[in-house]
Amino acid sequence: MRLFYLLILVFLAAFCQGSLVTVFPFLWVNPDLVLLIVVFNAFLKGSREGALVGFFGGLFQDLATGSYIGMNALSLMAAGYLVGLTQSKLLRESSLIITFLVWLSSIAAQLISYILLASMEVYISPGVALLRVIIPTAIFTSILAPVFYPRFYKSCRKGMLRNRNI
């Protein structure tokens, strides 16, 4: 049931993400809300569940995009897996640590997307990709981490996303 709620959350995040720029015109890139949830969950639950939620989260995004289906699924799965490796090695309550992890994993996920796009002969100049997409996305996404992480953590401990392992 927990996983079901989590996937609903991821689905809603993927659904809302597209309209963020419309609602907040000062944003010139969309923060990656799905990655945010994937990283939070992987940080608390480990690499296995991190990869699983990352895969489905990315798949939702891909389906919303309608093209290059699998690109986000792979990149978010990798991000979820990598962040999951830090489970129980770092302080869970720290917003600073999770912010840094979100920033790092966002860069990693976007770089993987960039490489996957290049492998499909979609060429974007590395400078443009880095300065206009990868870094701004990582910054905007990591800014949101300390806002949402305490709620997510609380929900994992006492709320709908709770289970015995936490």
């Binding site: 010139w28 995009t65 309608g66 701004p136």
Partner: protein, 317 residues
């Protein structure tokens, strides 16, 4: 029979009763004036009355304060609910007003600009947007059921939006001109210099015009239009205005940063050009940038500059 003292008492009582009756009669309701004595009495009594009434009010307020608190809390709650409701109504009205304005502009375009430009259009609402930052794609709520096909041009009242890349029965995917995979054959309105307008990754507010011949004079502020080459976009659709100039890495062509006329962050309704016909007259009277753009798309090229667009008029897709 009566004692003398008692007789006096009864006499006094009688006099008093008569006096009161006379006084009552004298001061009855509806008489013409007030005697000086009465007036003086009232003037003396009035402030005292006022003080007592004021005190009474205060005491009443003090006594009823705890009860009024309960009522105030209820009233406050009701007021808050009412304010919330009214605020909601204001937002709703604002939203309706904004939607009304947008639809009015779209209707004006559909009934005035599109027929004069010779466009047959289908209006659609934007129902989805690419959630990522790599691509610029939107989903619209019209599909093959409404006669839409891939590669049809998509516009709004401000200018060129993009083209349809895939069509489902009820929806269609539109590739925005800001997507780095998009390339639009274009020309600069004043100099008629050709070029390609392409999107740039992660930059939804700008496009880039490349392959502009080096010998042509390009200045900021010039308007860029579709050239009609490539048979995908009809000729004369406004794209944007040149903001900044540059030279490409080979040094053989000019490049220009172009600010699109369309606000891609606020796209809510678009029109798909399903077919084109002959332009009607009077296109110069159309609202900017369409009037200027369409007027120029049929005008002769400036002297000494080769018209890259070839034949005049709108090219069908």
């Amino acid at each position: 029979m009566f004692r003398r003292g008692n007789t006096r008492k009864y006499l006094l009582l009688g006099v008093l009763i008569i006096f009161i009756i006379v006084l009552m009669n004298y001061t009855r309701f509806g008489r013409a004036g007030v005697s000086p004595v009465e007036s003086a009495l009232r003037d003396v009594v009035a402030p005292v009355q006022g003080l007592s009434i004021n005190l009474g009010h205060r005491l009443r307020g003090l006594v009823s304060f705890p009860f009024s608190l309960v009522n105030a809390a209820k009233e406050n709650q009701l007021m808050k609910e009412r304010i919330g409701e009214l605020e909601g109504r204001i937002y709703q009205d604002e939203e309706l007003r904004s939607e009304n304005e947008r639809l009015k502009r779209l209707l004006d375009f559909k009934t005035v600009v599109a027929p004069q430009a010779g466009f047959n259009t289908v209006t659609a609402a934007v129902v989805g947007r690419d959630p990522g930052n790599w691509f610029g794609m939107i989903t619209i709520n019209k599909g093959s059921r409404n006669g839409l096909k891939p590669d049809m041009a998509v516009i709004n009242d401000q200018g060129l939006v993009g083209r349809i890349t895939s069509v489902n029965t009820y929806t269609a995917e539109v590739l925005l001109i800001t997507d780095f995979r998009s390339g639009v054959s274009a020309l600069i309105q004043d100099s008629r210099s050709p070029g390609i307008v392409e999107g740039t990754a992660g930059y939804p507010g700008k496009v880039r015009m490349v392959h502009i011949p080096i010998e042509t004079e390009v200045t900021p502020g010039q308007v860029v239009l579709t050239s009609g080459f490539g048979s995908m976009y009809p000729k004369g659709i406004p794209i944007g205005r040149i903001q900044e100039l540059g030279r490409d890495s080979s040094g053989l062509f000019n490049t220009a940063e172009v600010i699109p006329f369309v606000d891609f962050n606020r796209l809510e309704e678009v029109m798909v050009i399903t077919g084109t016909g002959a332009q009607a007259g009077g296109v110069s009277a159309l609202p900017d940038p369409w009037g200027v753009a369409l007027n120029n798309s049929v005008a002769a090229p400036p002297t000494g500059v080769k018209n890259p667009a070839g034949s005049s008029g709108v090219v069908g897709q």
